[in-house]
């Protein structure tokens, strides 16, 4: 089987989500990558070095500059004559583009796979991860998105894929990019961080969220996350959100502070290696999944913890 993997990148570097997707695709067959964007030569060079990659197709064109789904899906469909599976990371780009490709190919997509059981059978979470379904696809070609935390990351070095130009499908003329408001942060990215410090509604305000969560995160070199309750209350921006409707994370250490542990939140972090919970309510559901728990007032505990680390 020949697979085509959508490379997630920021214009300069290949993002970690791509590496897990390469591993998943490698379990299906030969791995070719698609780098779509504008001025993405460096990304293509880096992509060709990823272990297990046989070829990198580069579509370098203004039409792909902002990865508009209307344009990228057209490009992918043109390439799928020669491939058996389109495999994308379950990132916002992957989730935006893959179903459009699937419908154009008349294929039922398999979303957010957690394992490859065989060439046509996969496991995937349903009901916010409260159940795991094993599904078999009857479609001749497969369209798949991959849960990044469920697969090991392919090595960034060791491969020697060839690089070929692709594209020429042009602009579909349906949509245009207006602006982006990218959260700037010196901290690691949530989905690839080794340690995450996450705050909940108990922080009480945006000021307190930053005053208490940020110093601990900085001390640990951690990314900052938040529960949906904290995001909805305006204490933290939306892209901090961890959970069923936010980001799915699986760091080495996840520190949940003032987070009760709603099903919705647990769905996004319960695959973390070690979970540490700090909460004043000893009955909070978060303690049922936490490896280490500390019951108490976070406004007293956090400054002490930060100073003692």
């Amino acid at each position: 089987m020949k697979t085509l993997v959508l490379v997630e990148h920021d214009g300069q570097a290949v993002k970690d989500a791509t590496l897990a997707t390469v591993t998943a695709a490698g379990q299906l067959g030969d791995v070719e990558l698609l780098v779509a964007g504008q001025g993405v030569g460096a990304v293509a060079d880096a992509a060709a070095k990823i272990a297990g990659v046989s070829k990198v197709l580069v579509a370098d064109d203004a039409a792909y500059a902002n990865l508009l789904a209307e344009n990228v899906a057209k490009l992918v469909v043109a390439l799928m004559g020669d491939h058996d599976a389109f495999v994308a990371p379950a990132t916002s780009n992957g989730k935006n583009i893959a179903p459009r490709v699937a419908a154009l190919l008349d294929v039922m997509q398999i979303s957010d796979i957690m394992s490859v059981e065989s060439a046509d059978t996969f496991t995937r979470p349903i009901y916010a991860g409260n159940a795991i379904a094993t599904v078999t696809s009857a479609d001749a070609k497969k369209v798949i998105t991959v849960r990044g935390t469920a697969f090991a990351k392919a090595a960034r070095e060791g491969g020697s894929g060839s690089i070929e130009a692709a594209g020429g499908q042009g602009d579909a003329g349906l949509s245009s990019f207006v602006s982006a408001e990218v959260s700037k942060s010196e901290r690691p990215e949530l989905t690839s961080a080794k340690i995450i410090v996450s705050g909940g509604r108990a922080l009480g305000s945006e000021e307190k969220f930053h005053e208490f969560i940020d110093p601990l995160a900085d001390k640990l070199g951690a990314a900052v996350g938040a529960s949906r309750a904290a995001v909805d209350a305006g204490y933290a921006p939306n892209d901090y959100q961890v959970g069923q409707t936010g980001k799915i994370v699986a760091p080495e250490i996840y520190i949940a502070i003032g987070i009760s542990g709603a099903i919705q939140h647990l769905a996004g972090m319960k695959d973390s290696k070690t979970i540490i919970a700090i909460n004043k309510d000893e009955e909070a559901p978060i303690f049922q999944v936490a490896d280490l728990g500390l019951v108490g007032d976070l406004f007293k505990i956090l400054p002490e913890l930060t100073s003692k680390l």
Binding site: A103, M108, S111, A128, N130, S175, E181, L220, N238, L309
Partner: protein
């Protein structure tokens, strides 16, 4: 301009799903069912467009069992004008749903279709994008803001790194994210009024759509459970544990 809003009847989001012991799925017998929360946001957005004068008629559509009528009545009570139920007695996959919706769009000619970004039962996150593909329309997924300007709609999207705004040529597809709006509750008079609003019943065959599933569910199991760990007494004990893990010096 007509606005089409597809809605799905799902297990209520406050109910903890229980996997059936025979591994065939999640138990939906005698549990509370509600409108998919993202679809409620879609209905609300359509109503707000109508209140602003940008939309003239809101058509709610559901594809599923007869009981989905209740979900459509909820949409009508919130403020949709009429409803269409495509009756299907088994679970219809997103691709087939998109094909049915395309047939309805061809008939109704809406300027905008607003859908929830995903249903909280199968968590597929596909139908809106697929419908956009089949229609050859533009798509604004995971929307947190929707603004119509003439024949363009500006959609602010919630993406991994923050927010992104795209301008779409209409007709267009929009899928909703949580922060787009806060859906209203239906008032009692409006619930009564909704009972007399038109609700048409159709079947997939009426639209000539083959809804045969492409995926077979082999089994459904509970995820591996995490064991609760230990509670530490104070910050010093926590710091000691963190040092053991090599986190702190």
């Amino acid at each position: 301009m007509k606005v089409l809003v597809p809605v799905k009847r799902v297990l209520d989001y406050n109910v903890k799903p229980r996997v059936k012991s025979d591994g065939t799925g999640v138990d939906l017998a005698n549990v509370k069912m509600s409108m998919n929360p993202f679809d409620e946001i879609a209905v609300e957005e359509a109503i707000r467009l109508k209140e602003k004068g940008a939309a003239t008629e809101i058509i709610a559509v559901s594809i599923g069992e007869q009981k989905s009528q209740e979900t459509l009545r909820t949409a009508l009570a919130m403020g949709a004008d009429r409803a269409i139920l495509v009756v299907a007695d088994f679970s219809i996959e997103p691709l087939a749903v998109a094909k049915l919706l395309k047939a309805i769009v061809d008939e109704e000619q809406p300027g905008l279709v607003i859908l929830g970004k995903q249903a909280i039962d199968d968590d597929s996150n596909q139908t809106g994008q697929m419908l956009a593909a089949l229609l050859g329309w533009s798509q604004g997924t995971f929307a947190s803001k929707v603004e119509i300007n003439g024949d363009q709609v500006a959609v602010t999207r919630e993406v991994d790194g923050g927010l992104e705004t795209v301008s779409l040529k209409m007709p267009a597809i929009v899928t909703t994210d949580l922060r787009l709006n806060e859906p209203r509750y239906a008032t009692l008079p409006n619930i009564m009024k909704a009972k007399s609003k038109p609700l048409a019943q159709k079947t997939p065959a009426d639209y000539g759509v083959d809804v045969t599933p492409r995926l077979t569910t082999v089994k459904v199991v509970e995820p591996a459970k995490r064991q609760a760990g230990v509670k530490v007494a104070d910050v010093d004990a926590l710091v000691a544990k963190l040092k053991e893990m090599g986190v702190a010096a």
